[in-house]
Every structure is written in C-alpha cells, then in structure tokens.
Amino acid sequence: MKKLSARQQLHLEKSVLLLVLMLPLARIIFDYFQDSLGANPVEAMTHRTGDAALQILLLSLAVSPIQRYFRFRRAILFRRLLGLTAFFYGLLHFSIYLVFDQELSFGDTFADVAKRPYITMGFSSLVIMLPLAITSTDKMIKRLGGPKWRRLHKAVYAAAVLAVIHYWWLVKANITIPAIYGGCLALLFASRMIRQTRNLSRKNY
C-alpha cells in the first residue's frame, strides 16, 4: 500500500473525527425514524443537540491542555473542526426552537430571547460564536493577522460560560449535570491560569 503523505493523513484523520462528531446527529435521525425519541421528540432533539454543542465546545477548549499534558502536539490541528461542529450543533439547537417552539415567528422569538434570561444566555452564546465561525478560514486568519485573530477567538470562553449558565438556569431542581459542565469549564480555566502564572514567573527571571 502506498504510504499516505502527511497532508493526506491529516485529511483522513479529520474526516474520521468529523464522522465521530456527527454521531449525535446520526443518532437523532435514526431514533426519529425508529420512533424512539420518546413521547416528546422535539424536546429530545432540543436537549440532545444542546448537549452535543456544549460537550464539543468544551472539548475544543480542552485542546491546548491536552496538547501540553498528554504531549499530543498535533491536537491543535483538530481544534477548528471541533469549534465549527460545536457551532453547527448550537445552530441546530436554536433552529429546532425557532421552528417547533416559535413556528418561525421572529417577533415572538426575539421577545422570548429578551424576556427569558436562560434563553438570553444561550442565544448570546450562539451570537458570540458566529463571528468566530466566520473567521475560522485560513484566509481570514491571514487577513486579520495572528495576534488580532487570537484576541478575537478568546471570545470562545465567553460563549462557553454563557452556554453553561444557559443550561444551569433552565434546570428546575437537579443541577447535577450543568454543575458537571461548570466544573469542567472551571478546570479548563484553572489549567490556563496555571500556565499564565508560570509564563509570567519565567519572564521575571
């Protein structure tokens, strides 16, 4: 067998990752046709796309710690795909709400977004991710320039925080799962802060 070039190999790896990331969607579609989304399929679809968006978003934030702690330097090559998939699921999540809960009435949707704090949070999270998704191409990175691009993309933390708050505020009594997501996010922040203080102390010497 011909050995793959590095580029081809990366392409293959990314394709596999994309397939894996599409599994939650595939399961939703499969379950829909199997009639196994339960008594309230719209709610099930909303919850599952929301879960996928949040999980993949957190995974994208975990890329640089994974690089460092597991010495898996190539992890960074997959971060864009993770971020874009998180945005894709977020968009699906919102679209289901827009179509089935609001029946495409933009007026009602706007009023709802403004009035319900947890929806405000979720919507803001998605809005923040939009420019990040748009500026995710190589061309845009070049056009903005590395430092500026990086500064812009720090907004992903805000998106993640808002997404966790969105989940936290919608829960009626059992906050276990949003608390777990919150804990993961706190860990990611902690790892970043440790690194920053280390870098600072290195500079002092």
Binding site: D35, R116, L170
Partner: protein
Amino acid sequence: MLKYLKCRDVPHSSLRMHKALMEGTMLIKIIDPTAAREHEVTPQALYLDRRRLMASTARSMIAAGATGISGLMSSMAFAAKAYEKVPKGSPFDTNEALTPLKDVTSYNNFYEFGTDKGDPKINSGSLKPRPWKITVDGEVEKPTSFDIDDFIKTKKLEERIYRLRCVEAWSMVIPWIGFPLADVIKAARPNSKAKFVAFTTLLDPAQMPGQKSKILDWPYTEGLRLDEASHPLAFLAVGLYGDTLPNQSGAPLRLVVPWKYGFKSIKSIVKITFTSTQPKTTWNVMGPDEYGFYSNVNPNVDHPRWSQGKERRIGELFKRKTMMFNGYDQVASLYTGLDLKKNF
C-alpha cells in the same frame, strides 16, 4: 406525530375485543398472570377502537404491555369491581384524542424516581403499592386510616377523561379511573376550622430512590383550598386506561386536579390532612416566585423562565394555545374577586 398516524391496521386482537365489547363483557376481569400482555393491551385498544382513533401503533401496545406488568399484582384490587365509563358529553369527558398509554407511562415527572422524564418508568419498580395505608386526619370529626383496598371498596369507581397540563408547557389527555375527592371529604366530615386540604406522598428512600438526594424537600406535599378540593372536577385516581395505576403514574392513589398545573396532582398519597391554615407545598417552598400555591393553568401569567401561553400536546410537533383553567371554565367561580396575577 407521524408515528401515531402511519399504522392504521387494527391489531388482530382488537377484533376479539370489539366482539367482547358488543357482547358487553367487561374487559378488566382477566387476571391470569400469563395473560399479562393481552390484559394490559386490551383497554387501550378498546379505547382507541371506541373513540375511532387511528392513533396508535402496534409497537406502542407492546410497550404498554411491558410497562403495565408492575401493576398486575395489584390489578385484582378493582379488576373484580367494574367502573362506570364516562358518559358522552359529560363535563368529565373530552372528544380530544387520548395520549397513547405508552407515552402516558414513559414520560413522567416523578422526582422520587429521578429527574429525567424516562426515570420513573425505569426506577419505580421498587415501589410497593400494596399493602398501603392512607391516613385522613387534622380538622375532622373522625380521623381514620384505611388500607387502600378497603378504601377503594367503599367507593364507586368512575372514569374521567381529563387534559393534564404540565407547568413545563406540555400536555396530555388521560382516561383516569377513581372517585371524586369530594366523596372523601364528605366521609371525613371536616369541622368548622378546616379551610384547606393537605396531601403527603410516601417518604421511603428504599422504595423511592430519588429521595436519597436532596433535590426537593421530601416528602412531597401539596394542598388545595377546601372549596377547590370539594369541586366536582377534583378527583382521586386509582387507575388509568382501564387498569390499576402504574407505579410511575403515582400508584396506588393520586390526586388529579385538571385545571391546575400537573405538579399539584400529587402522587402516591399516604396522608390527607385537613388544616385551618394554608399548607406548605413542595414546589412553592422550592421556588415561591415560580410556583404559586394556586398554580391554576393560566396562559396570561408566565412562569418567570418560560411562557405559559402555549403548550405542546404530547404526540404533536407544534404547540397549541393554552386555555384558561386548562379549559375547565366551570372552576372560575372559585376565584371571583381573587387577583390571579398575584395569586398565581
């Protein structure tokens, strides 16, 4: 939605049921444990047949068979006792499509068995609805306690087909079996100090594993004003879809107050207490700005976190408008002069 319409074929067994119906034989008398599936399936098929709904799949019936088995042991309780079908056009009836049994018994809010909608069906096997003691006490002339079966024996069982509207903006249509709460009130003979009726769910973390985590202030309690509780619509259910209440639906005895949000309809009741002051109710204590004592279904008063103007009927994809008092206008006179925005 699609799924309830695509299978129009009548399951072969329902032909037999149809015959049985024509001959006027009661259907809930099958007690042979080996006939569990048939036994459980029969009522729904009958209902659907009777109401000329094409709203079911063969699969849902099989699922119904699986869910109902837990209720089998206790189904002898009123299997021998017929219940009166709701008369057509009665205020206790509706011509709306019934929510399939499969959905009624697999999509539940019963935090004593977990906070996911699917949890109660999975986890409620540990609940033992027989033997079961119910205490009636407080401001009454004769405080008593009964065994559930003795209790049921003294009651005339009837059917009620009610809409159930959850505070989470979804709804169902369920055929209950039970008796008016007013019957119990009359029998208890409340004294002049009695102004409210309080209800308590069983407290037993061994039977109700959800009580091991402090999600709510256990045991679950609910309450009604005495005049609300005496309204003919207020109902105590011991069964649904022609059979004994499944555990996940609040076996062996639950309240059904169709003009209020579902959480008012407390499940697995062990105690009914008449009080002179407004009793503490679980969700009201948990979030007083979100869940009022009254909690009447009201499309004009939003829950702080979501709109109450619309609801999703289980089985439908899009939402429909929510009706004042869930469509039970006959209760309006209970609240004349009361600001329902303040007393939500």
